[in-house]
Structure formats: structure tokens, C-alpha cells
């Protein structure tokens, strides 16, 4: 590895952040932090899309990242509405306690 950033640097950074997000999803039990970890994973995927786009001199990766951002925004809105709803019924947002579909 060299000091100057190359494609491999960006991809390994992306893999590291994705791994951190995955461990967060597996370890944490607070639903809000779970969603934050999912956002981290989506961001790291965006980073590798953009890195590949730049080193292929192709803009398609930017379009993919753009759509991922739109989907992430929609997902965050719905997910936090669900968190709010669960909190009203259970007085807590620990995912271990969410075991039933009905309320």
C-alpha cells in the first residue's frame, strides 16, 4: 500500500466501515442505534460505488449512490415511525423485547 490514495484504499476503508456497521447491527440492542448502523453500512456501500465510478471514469456509480441516498431517506423516515410506534406500546425500544407482530 502506498501513501497516496488509490482505488484499493477507498475500497478497504469502505469494507472497514461496512464491518463496523455490521457489528453494530449484531451487537447493539437499541433500535435507533441499529438504524444508525444500517446508515453506516449504506454509506460505506455508497463510498465504494463512487470510488469504482471514479476509477472507471464512468458516472453510473454516482447515479446508484444517488438512488441509495433516496432509499435511505425513505427507509429512515418509515423506520423511525416504527420506533415511535413501538415505544408507545412497550415503553422501550430494545429489540430483544420486540418478539410479536401484533400490538
Amino acid at each position: 500500500m502506498s501513501w497516496e490514495p488509490t482505488l484499493a484504499h477507498y475500497l478497504i476503508l469502505s469494507a472497514a466501515v461496512f464491518t463496523i456497521g455490521m457489528v453494530g447491527v449484531l451487537v447493539r440492542r437499541n433500535a435507533i442505534i441499529l438504524f444508525m448502523s444500517i446508515e453506516l453500512m449504506l454509506n460505506s456501500v455508497n463510498l465504494s460505488f463512487i470510488a469504482f465510478a471514479r476509477y472507471r471514469v464512468d458516472l453510473d456509480g454516482h447515479i446508484f449512490a444517488f438512488f441509495i441516498m433516496a432509499v435511505a431517506a425513505a427507509e429512515a423516515a418509515v423506520a423511525l415511525a416504527i420506533v415511535l410506534h413501538v415505544f408507545r406500546h412497550k415503553r422501550g425500544i430494545e429489540v430483544d423485547e420486540m418478539q410479536e407482530l401484533k400490538h
Partner: protein, 254 residues
């Protein structure tokens, strides 16, 4: 060596540190604040990757909209201390961390082997290459074995290659797939909004064409040509998300 590597390492280390603190810190509010900083580091990385438009969108959408949602929910729920995520050390925590480390090493190994420089090409370490006559030449591009994929590509070469691509699409001599690329003409003057360029002789900012790759002109040309159907479907998705969020979060749907 320019300042770009320095900024890359600042942003990269900052992104990893803030991502770790999102996962490790107990208080969700501090997690959210670490996540904001993380999004800004990512925006900086996008700028380094010449994705100017996406860097702006990242700050607006993630740093603005999504973070406001997270902070709003955290403060609305007013989580007490006993409800904060506790990091009790358990078997499944250890297993999850092990799985993460294993995944990282598998992915890293795959990346390193896939992006190894092609045989006969100068190695990545030699971005400064000594020629036969003793002079040093900076290598602008290092190819991989995958066609069209470069390992290292500096900013100027990127712009040149992108202009070459556009020119060949304009001439119709290069057509990767029919209808794949819009007929984007960089020479066409845009009335609104002109990109700004600094004119050193006049010592003022004049309308002009600065960097093309990753600016919003070619991206918008792609969005409303080749990707127009997904673009419109995004509007539908956002509408569905709005309605869904309202219905789920409402106390009683009448």
C-alpha cells in the same frame, strides 16, 4: 506530493473513529452526533473522489434531513439511562465481533488481490517513476487486469479521459450499448447556472466550464435520460414513505 493524500488520511481515520464511536458509545444522542461528523467525513471523501454533486447531496440529505429525524426521535422519546444500550459482554457480542473481523479480512484480501497491478505495469508504490535518463516522472494512471478499471488516476487525467469519452460518444464512434449514454455536449453553453472559473489575468470569477466529471450537469443529463424511470419511481417511493410514516406514527387512524 499534493495535499490530497493528507486529506484522504484525515477523512479516512476520522470516518473510522466516528463509525466506531457510533457503535460503541452508550448514549444514543452522542451516537447521533458522531454519525453527523461521520457523514461530513464521507462528504469530504466524495469530494476527493471528484463526486462534487454527491458530496453536496450527502451533506443536505444525510447531514440535514436524516440526522434531524434521528435527533428528533431520540429527544422525543427522551430515553432514560436504563434504556440506553448497554454493552454487556456476552457470548453473542464476542461472536459478532469475530464475524466482523473475519468479514473484514476476507473483504480486504479480496480487494487487495483484485486490485493488484497488472503484470508489466508500474506498481502503485511507484507513482513517481525514475526513467532511463534519471528524471522522475509521475505516473498518472495504473491499470488493473479488469478492462477500463484504473488503480490510480490523477485529477487531470480523469478529466481528460472523461472529455475523450464524451467526445467519442458525440461522434458516435464509441457506443458501449445503444442508448446507454446521453448525448451530453460539454461545448454547449448553459444559460443557467454557469459554473464558475477563476480567471487569473482578470483576477475575477468568470462564468466558464470547470471540472466536468461528477458535477451536476452530466449527472442531471443521465438522470433525465437513461435513468428517468427509476428517477420518477423514486418520487413514488418517497410519497409512499411519507404516507407510511404518517400512518404508522399516528396514534389512531380514523
Amino acid at each position: 506530493m499534493g495535499v490530497e493524500p493528507l486529506f484522504f488520511w484525515i477523512f479516512a481515520i476520522g470516518a473510522i473513529v466516528t463509525s466506531l464511536s457510533v457503535v460503541v458509545v452508550r448514549n444514543p444522542l452522542y451516537c447521533a452526533l458522531a454519525l453527523v461528523v461521520d457523514f461530513f467525513f464521507f462528504a469530504g471523501l466524495y469530494v476527493l473522489l471528484s463526486a462534487h454533486f454527491l458530496a453536496v447531496v450527502q451533506v443536505l440529505v444525510y447531514g440535514g434531513a436524516i440526522m434531524v429525524l434521528f435527533l428528533f426521535i431520540i429527544m422525543l422519546l427522551n430515553l432514560r439511562g436504563d434504556e440506553l444500550g448497554q454493552m454487556r459482554f456476552q457470548l453473542h457480542t464476542a461472536l459478532a465481533i469475530t464475524a466482523g473481523v473475519v468479514l473484514f479480512f476476507i473483504a480486504g484480501g479480496a480487494i487487495l488481490s483484485a486490485t493488484a497491478p497488472m503484470d508489466g505495469e508500474p506498481p502503485v508504490e511507484g507513482t513517481l517513476v525514475v526513467q532511463d535518463d534519471g528524471s522522475e516522472v509521475r505516473v498518472q494512471e495504473v491499470r488493473t487486469s479488469i478492462p477500463g478499471l484504473y488503480l490510480a488516476l490523477d485529477e487531470q487525467t480523469l478529466e481528460e479521459k472523461y472529455l475523450e469519452q464524451i467526445a467519442s460518444w458525440e461522434r458516435g464512434t464509441s457506443r458501449p450499448s445503444d442508448g446507454k449514454y446521453p448525448r451530453f455536449n460539454p461545448e454547449r453553453t448553459f444559460e443557467v447556472p454557469p459554473s464558475m472559473q477563476f480567471d487569473p489575468e482578470a483576477a475575477s470569477v468568470v462564468p466558464g466550464r470547470s471540472g466536468l466529471y461528477g458535477t451536476f450537469q452530466p449527472i442531471s443529463a443521465l438522470l433525465v435520460n437513461r435513468f428517468v424511470v427509476p428517477f420518477e419511481l423514486t418520487a413514488l417511493l418517497l410519497l409512499a414513505a411519507i404516507i407510511g410514516a404518517v400512518i404508522i406514527a399516528k396514534r389512531r387512524v380514523t
